[in-house]
Symmetry: C2
Subunit: 574 residues, 2 copies
Amino acid sequence: MSRPVKPATAEQLAERIRQALGLHPADLVIKNARFLDIIGGQLSTGDIAIHGEHVVGVCESYAGRREIDGRGLVAVPGFIDAHVHIESSLVTPAEFDRNVLLRGTTTAICDPHEISNVLGVPGLQFFLDSALGLAMDLRVQLPSCVPATDLETSGARLDAEQLLSFRNHPAVLGLAEMMNVPGVLRSEPGVLEKLAAFQGRHIDGHAPLLCGRELNAYAAVGISNDHESTSRDEARDKLRRGLQVFLREGSAAKTVAALAPLISDAVSPFLAFCTDDRSPLDIAEQGHIDHCIRAALTAGAPMTAVYRAASWSAARGFGLTDRGLIAPGYVADIILLEDVETCRVHTVIRLGEVVDDELFARRQPVPAIGRNSVKLDPVAPQQFALRACGPTGPVIGLRPDQLVTDHLTLSLPYRNGQRLANPDQDVLKVCVLARHGTNRNIGRGFVKGFGLRNGALASSVGHDSHNIIVVGDSDRDMALAVNRLIALQGGLVAVRDGEIVAELPLPLAGLMSDLSFSEVCDRLSVLRRAAWAMECRLREPFLSLSFLPLPVIPHLKITDRGLVDVDRFELITT
Amino acid sequence: MSRPVKPATAEQLAERIRQALGLHPADLVIKNARFLDIIGGQLSTGDIAIHGEHVVGVCESYAGRREIDGRGLVAVPGFIDAHVHIESSLVTPAEFDRNVLLRGTTTAICDPHEISNVLGVPGLQFFLDSALGLAMDLRVQLPSCVPATDLETSGARLDAEQLLSFRNHPAVLGLAEMMNVPGVLRSEPGVLEKLAAFQGRHIDGHAPLLCGRELNAYAAVGISNDHESTSRDEARDKLRRGLQVFLREGSAAKTVAALAPLISDAVSPFLAFCTDDRSPLDIAEQGHIDHCIRAALTAGAPMTAVYRAASWSAARGFGLTDRGLIAPGYVADIILLEDVETCRVHTVIRLGEVVDDELFARRQPVPAIGRNSVKLDPVAPQQFALRACGPTGPVIGLRPDQLVTDHLTLSLPYRNGQRLANPDQDVLKVCVLARHGTNRNIGRGFVKGFGLRNGALASSVGHDSHNIIVVGDSDRDMALAVNRLIALQGGLVAVRDGEIVAELPLPLAGLMSDLSFSEVCDRLSVLRRAAWAMECRLREPFLSLSFLPLPVIPHLKITDRGLVDVDRFELITT
C-alpha cells in the first residue's frame, strides 16, 4: 500500500518475466474474464496474470497461485476521480477510501483546501500522511487558494513558501485548483509566486465561464485543466485552448449529462470525470465515478471513450503513466464489472490485491486531527439581531440545485430597529459566525428559498473558510443550534421549536466525522428528514447551507464579515 | 536554445498574462492563419500569439511586435521523430538539425548507439553535448545494447553503471531501444540491471515479430513502445499489450503504408512516427517526418489522427507534456503548411523563433570527435584469401530492400585450397575487418545479390559494431578500397578495376562526415552511380552493405569473427 509504487529491482523484474512467460505460476490470475481494450475498443479474451502490484500478462492462458473466476465479467482499468474535496464526504480519508474504492475508484486526486482553511499546514499534513496509508491511491494537490478571498476570516493562510516545502512529497502532483481567476488576470504577486513555484509540475484549474483572451491568459500560465464547464460550447472552447475538461457529478453541480455529447474517441484523451464536492448520501445512493460513467452512458456517450476518460485519460492528464490500461507493466488496478453497459462493480483489484475488509484492516491508521476547532463562546439570541434603518434590504435568493444565488431586495417585518425573518415570505435569517479564534465577527442577512418553519439549521461546514453558518426563523432556535454545535465542536444540527431534533457531530476540524461512512449516512438521512419535517423544500438542506458563504460564486453570499456582492466583489451594508 | 525549457519566473508569467490579454503586444503573432485543432479535429481561426518560447493566445485577434502573415497557411504542431539514429544520416547532429528542422521535425528522440559502439562514453557525451546546443529539441536515449551481441568486436561496451551516470542529464529521457530480446526473456543479469536502473523512467522497445507470452514478458518490464511492427496484426497485438506503436519510414525499413489503416481517432494517441535509420539522400529527396505524414495520408489515414500521431501522441509517449498542441502555455513549436493534405512546409517556428540561417548561426558549436578511429594497418590482398576444404559452402543471400538475408549453400570456384568469388554467379567475397584496435580479426564469406563486377565497395559503417566491411570480386580491389578507407580514417569507398572512382570521407568515428548535408548528398549520389556503373543492381548499395554485419537480423550475417547463423545465434565455419 505504499505510494508511489517503488521501482522494481532486477530480481523483481526477473520474477515478472518468469510469471509472464508462465514459467512460474502468477501471483494472481483472473481467469475467463473478457477485458475492455480501451485502445482498440474491443472486448479481448484471455487471462489476466498479475505479479505483485503489476499486470504481467494478458490475452494468453495463465495459471496462478490464486485464481479468480471472471466468467461473465468484464475487466476495465481502475477509475480515477480527477478532482475531489474529500472533506465534502464528511468522513475521514480512511472512510472515503473504504467506500469509493469498493465502487471502483482506485485513484483520486484530492484538494484538501477545506481542512487547510481551518487548520492550515497541520490539516494539509494530515491528508498527506493519510494518503500514504490508504488502500486506494490518493494524490494530494497543494491548495492554491487558502483563504479563497479576503472577504472572509479563515483559520489559516497558505503562502507559496509553505506550499513549496511540500512540493516533493510522494503524494503531491502539484498545485490544486487555481480559483483566484481575477488574481491571475491581475498578476497578483502572491498568486504568480505560487504559479511560478509549480511551473513544470501539475497545476489544476477552476475557471467558470472564462473565455476569450482571459481564458488564453489563464491557460498560458501552465494551468492544465478545468472542471467548471457547464455547457458544451464552454467545454469546447476550453478544449481548443488545450485545457483538459473534467465532467463533474458533485452533489450540487452536475455536468455529465450536459457534456456527454462531447465524449468521442477523438476527444476522450482530453476528458476525465470528477466529483469535486459529493455528499456521502449521494455516494451511497448513486455511486462515485461509477455513477459518472453510468450518467455518461445513459446520455448516449460511446462506451470505450467513456471508460477511457475515466481511467487512461485522467491518468495521462496527471502524468500518471503507470496506470489506465490493463496491460503488462501497468499497475494492477482492475475492476471486474458484472455489466459494462451499466457499470455494475463486482470486484475491485488494487495493486494486485482483491479489495476486501482484510485489505482495509491492514491500512496504516493516522491519528485524527482538528478536535476543538470551534473557538467560539456560547451565543445569546440577541447577538443575531439585525439592526437596520428600515424594512427593505438585500436577501439571498436560493436557486434549487445550484450554487449560484440571486441578489434580491425585499421588504420584511421591521420592529424596534430590527429587520426580522418571515417564514410566510419564505425568508429566514442567516448568520455566519467566525469560529477560528481570530475575531468574533458575525455576518447577518436573510435568505429566501429554504421553506423552513419553526426551527433552525446550523453547520460548521461553510465553504471555504468553514465558519459557522446558521439559518432559522427565530433567533432563539438559531442560538440553540449554534450552542449545540459549539458543544459538539463542529457538526450539523437541526433544532425544531426549542429542541435539538437531529445532529451529526463533525469533531475533526468541524468538517469530518469520526464515525463510519454508513453511520454518517444514517445521521444525514435523519437530519434531512428533520429539515423536511420543518417544511424545508430543498433536496439537501445542509449542502445548500454550506455553500451560502462561498464568495466566489455569484451573486449574493454571506461571510462572517457580512453580505458579499460577488459581482462587485465587495461587502454591502444590510 | 537551451533545453529543457527553463521554468518561468513570476515576472515572465506576468508578461505572458499581459500579452495573452492583449495589454502588451505579443513578441510574435501569426496573423490570419488557420490552425489544425488536433483535439476537436477542426480548422480553427484566429491569430496565434507567442511570448518568448510559449504560445500565449489562440482563437482571438492579437497585435505583435513581429507579425507573420499566415494567410492561406495552416498551422500544425511541430513534428516529432520518435526514434532515430542520427549517425545513419552520415552527418553531425548539427547538420541533421539544420536539415530536418526545416522540414518540420522540431523534436527528435535519438539513440546514439552507432557512435557509442565505436567510441563508448565519449561518443555518447558528444551527442549529449550536441543536443544542448541545437536549434531543434534533441533528446538522447541512453544506448542499452552496446555492443549488440558478443558475436562481434565493438569499440566499446556500456554497462548499467555507466548509463546511470547520465540518467539525470537534461537531454536524457531514459533507456534506448532494448534490442536484446533474448537477454530480457532469459533474465540476463546485465540486461535486467539496465532495465532496473530505468524503472520509472522511459524505456524504448525493439521487438520484431515478438508475440504471445514472450511479448507480455517484454512489456512487463516497463518497455513502452516498439517500432518494428511490419503487419497490422503484429501492431494490433502490441497495442493490446499497451505498447505504443511507431510507424517507421527508414531507408531500409518502411512500414507507414502497411500500418496506415490502423490510424484512427481512437488509436492515434498510441501511435507515433519515426525514421530509425534514414539516409541523407532519402531525407533530401523525400523528406523526414513530413514524408511519414504524406505516406500516411496517401494511404488514406484520417488527417487529424495523422497529425496528432506526429505531434501530441509522440510527445505524450515520452512524457513531454509541454508540446504537441497549439495552445496557450505550450511551447511554440509550430509549422506553417502551404497545404495540410500534402504536408508542404512553408515556415517552421521553434520555441517562438522563425527557423532560418540566422537561428542556425547562433547555435553552440560542439568540437568534432572520433577522428583516427580506424585502428588498422594497411592490408594486403592475400589477407582476404578464404581457405576452405572444398567448393561448397555458405553464402549470404541478399533480399532487395530488406535487412533479412537468406542462408544459401552454393558451390563456387575452388583453387589452391581457396574458395573464390564468381561474378558470373553474382557471388562476391565479403570481409569484415576489426578496426577498433583490440584485435586483428577478419571475418570472410560470400554474398549473392550485389550484381557488382570488376570492383569493390568498402565502408566503415557496419551495424552495429562498425568494423570495416568490404565486398568485391577481387582481393586486389578489396584491399585497395580498405587501404583507402584506412587512409581516410573512415568513409565509403568505391574501387573499379584498380582505381578509386568515388569516396565519401567519414572522419568522425568512421560514421559521420564533417561536410555539409548537401555535400554529403552529392558525394553519395556519385558513389551510388559508381556502384551502378559496375552493374550493381541495388537501390542503395552502401546501405545494403552496412547492414550485412548486423547479427540480430536473420538469417545469415557476417562479423569480424566470421559468418553468423542468426537463427542459431552462433558462428559457423566457412
